[in-house]
């Protein structure tokens, strides 16, 4: 029972990874990052034998699905992971994004506008942002789990409206939703619903852009305000943080990203109806965030991948795939209670320099809450 070593061995993988990452120089980081991103882009082409979900499910579409859920997870992570607002109805925003696209572009729509897909994207983002504000403004004064159930209700209400209101066509749905108009030299469409690869590349690119923006936010006054709200809302308010406004921002930005993902999705499948925007889906989004490590951008992407991948990987034993999925979640959570990459994020633009000057090293957060929390148990 030799203490220090035992303790050192317990340091979570995520932390070690982060420490290692933090210890690298900028150029070293790039040297790792660029090949990694390249590899991610090449995945659908490589279709690696062990990783692939075929023959049960098309691997490229699975990858696209993983990517769109990853985008959702990044948006949800702003709300849940950063600002600490538990949102169980995030699927509502996803649905609003998808439906906005459908309503404006599908020939089935009562609007009969037939806008191209690209024009629908900003529209969808705008409408979801507004819906985020509409939901947030009256409810963001609620605390913790009261907010959670209200958002859950919102998600359900969105779905039920789509189901009940005639112009939204219920399960009859909207068909022939167009994708981006890009043609190859031979005149064939690049973005078709059967070929997941271009969609995947598009989504990954969007993810990278969103990640950059979100990362900027994180290491700024706004990101700090969010985390402060998450930690102690009253104290944050007393330190001059306009908590309501920042919560609303978090909600609106999260919603916008969700809506964007919904719009991309609608373009890819070409048909949407009121099925599949239910609570379960919503909670799976949340599972992606928590599984990957709430608050960690890279983590939640990993989480999204797992959420999509596990059921698809086990298509060949279709009957058991959701059982496997359920058990996998339990086991993963028990063995990695902080999420796969649950490490805290940086909140300062110049943090590295500051800490370096002070203690001679880059920032290293010296201890883990996971173990430190023993005395307080799970609660609060």
């Amino acid at each position: 029972m030799n203490a220090p070593d035992a303790a050192a061995a317990k340091v979570p993988f995520g932390t070690r990874l982060r420490d290692w990452w933090g210890s690298l120089d900028r150029w070293q980081q790039w040297a790792v990052l660029i090949p990694a991103v390249l590899l991610i882009y090449l995945l659908p082409v490589l279709n690696p034998p062990l990783l692939t979900t075929e023959p049960g499910t098309d691997f490229q579409i699975t990858l696209f699905n993983a990517a769109r859920i990853a985008l959702i997870a990044i948006g949800l992570n702003i709300v849940v992971g950063q600002a600490g607002l538990l949102d169980l109805g995030y699927v509502g925003f996803f649905a609003v994004g998808a439906y906005t696209t459908a309503v404006f572009s599908s020939p089935d729509s009562f609007l009969a506008t037939d806008y191209p897909w690209l024009a629908c994207i900003p529209l969808a983002m705008f409408v979801t942002a507004v819906s985020g504000l509409l939901l947030g403004a009256p409810t963001l004064r609620l605390r913790g789990d009261y907010l959670a159930i209200v958002t859950l209700g919102f998600g359900e209400i969105v779905r039920l409206l789509a189901d009940n209101l005639d112009p939204l066509r219920g399960q009859r749905g909207f068909g022939a939703i167009p994708g981006p108009e890009v043609t190859r030299a031979d005149g064939s469409q690049v973005f078709t619903s059967t070929d997941g690869t271009p969609w995947y590349w598009l989504t990954v690119t969007v993810i990278i852009i969103v990640l950059m923006f979100v990362g900027n936010l994180e290491r700024s006054r706004v990101g700090r305000a969010w985390v402060a709200i998450r930690e102690d809302e009253d104290a944050a308010e007393s330190m001059g943080v306009p908590t309501f406004r920042f919560k609303l921002w978090a909600f609106a930005m999260g919603a916008t990203v969700g809506g964007l993902s919904g719009a991309i999705y609608a373009g890819q499948v070409g048909f949407i109806n009121s099925q599949g925007f239910d609570i379960i889906t919503s909670i799976l989004f949340l599972a992606a965030v928590v599984l990957g490590g709430s608050g960690n951008k890279v983590g939640v992407i990993l989480g999204a991948f797992i959420i999509v991948y596990i059921p698809d990987r086990f298509q060949v034993i279709a009957q058991y795939r959701f059982l496997i999925f359920g058990l996998a979640i339990i086991v993963l959570m028990i063995f990695r209670p902080q999420g796969l990459l649950g490490a805290r994020q940086r909140l300062l633009t110049y943090g590295r320099q500051a800490y370096q000057r002070l203690i001679g090293k880059g920032e290293q957060i010296s201890s883990e809450s996971a173990l430190g929390k023993h005395e307080e148990g799970v609660l609060r």
Binding site: I157, L161, I279, A287, L291, L323, I329, G377
Partner: protein
């Protein structure tokens, strides 16, 4: 485009209102709502208790309820009742059978809830997992339990076994009140009083409350935390088992793998509506939800039922941010 939209809307109103039906059905809706709301309430207690102590939305509680439904069903079956037949039972046989089925359901549900706590949540606690992780694990457990039922018992609900047909006992303002409804409401209130007394009046109950507020300090008072957690799940499970019995009596074709989902969501909504963490709130929330849902269905139409439930919740929370009876969790501690 605007004119187009308005013309679409003009020819077909989005929602029809039926005020007459609301008036006609007022008492019938009230009575049906109270009895179905009682089932919500019993299930809601499980959510409220676990939430109160662990700050965990136990999404697998709906599955605990389904386990109870199956337990009650298979008890009927093993008591020799056969699907399709509607036996003429003596009073004692009837009460005896129901009692046995109820006890079995309560025991099985309670036991599974404790097992769930042991297998899924305790390891997390030992590792100091943050609250959200419990939530996700609950989802995982819910998935797994559902799928086990799907794989072993198939996708269809079990053939109906009916011990008791609803028969009218008396009328209130022309609305009939059936034997099953009376049993459900009475049982819900009795069980609620028992649970409430337990939590608020007994030493162990006080331990439960202490753990819910400050687990570390509670252990410093000599409260066995693990025992409290177990007890909480047990109590919640037992009440869900009781709810299961009344549920399958009301809706005999309910023994199916995914039969708990919608009810679980509603029960949780009821718990929050009443003020989560508050037992009496769960009862009140269940009843209010049941009744208002029914009024709304008459007024707006049946497809709006769930919308009404959630809108009610949002409206109530906007005016009372901690539910109808919920005390402010954010105690002034500045």
């Amino acid at each position: 485009m605007i004119t187009h939209v308005t013309s679409v809307l003009a020819q077909d109103p989005l929602i029809d209102f039926n005020f007459q039906l609301l008036v006609d059905r007022f008492w019938a809706n009230t009575i049906d709502g109270l009895s179905y709301g009682s089932i919500y309430a019993l299930v809601a207690i499980g959510y409220t208790l676990v939430y109160g102590v662990l700050r965990l939305i136990n999404f697998a509680h709906s599955e605990i309820f389904v386990i109870g439904v199956f337990a009650a069903y298979f008890t009927f079956a093993s008591l020799g009742f056969v699907p399709g037949e509607s036996p003429q039972l003596g009073l004692f046989v009837l009460i005896g059978s129901l009692l046995v089925a109820g006890l079995v359901a309560m025991a099985v549900s309670g036991g599974s809830a404790v097992l769930l706590e042991r297998v899924c949540y305790r390891p997390l606690r030992k590792r100091g997992a943050p609250p959200l992780v419990f939530l996700i694990t609950a989802i995982g457990a819910s998935f797994a339990i559902q799928q086990i039922f799907l794989i072993t018992l198939g996708a269809n609900s079990q053939p109906t076994i009916r011990l008791l047909r609803p028969t009218e006992v008396f009328e209130i303002f022309g609305a009939r009140v059936t034997n099953i409804q009376i049993m459900t409401v009475v049982a819900a209130i009795v069980l609620m009083v028992v649970a409430d007394t337990f939590v608020n009046r007994t030493r162990l109950g006080r331990g439960v409350r202490a753990v819910s507020q400050d687990p570390a300090t509670a252990t410093l008072m000599g409260v066995n935390r693990e025992r409290v957690f177990m007890l909480t799940f047990l109590l919640g499970g037992v009440l869900a088992g009781a709810a299961a019995l009344f549920y399958i009596m009301t809706i005999p074709a309910a023994a199916v793998y995914n039969g708990g989902f919608l009810l679980g969501i509603k029960a949780f909504t009821a718990a929050v509506l009443g003020g989560i963490g508050n037992l009496r709130g769960a009862l009140l929330g269940g009843l209010v939800l049941g009744v208002v849902e029914n009024y709304g269905q008459s007024f707006f139409g049946g497809e709006w039922r769930d919308v009404i439930a959630f809108v009610l919740l949002i409206v109530v929370l906007m005016f009372r941010p901690t539910g109808i009876l919920g005390e402010s969790l954010a105690k002034a501690r500045a």
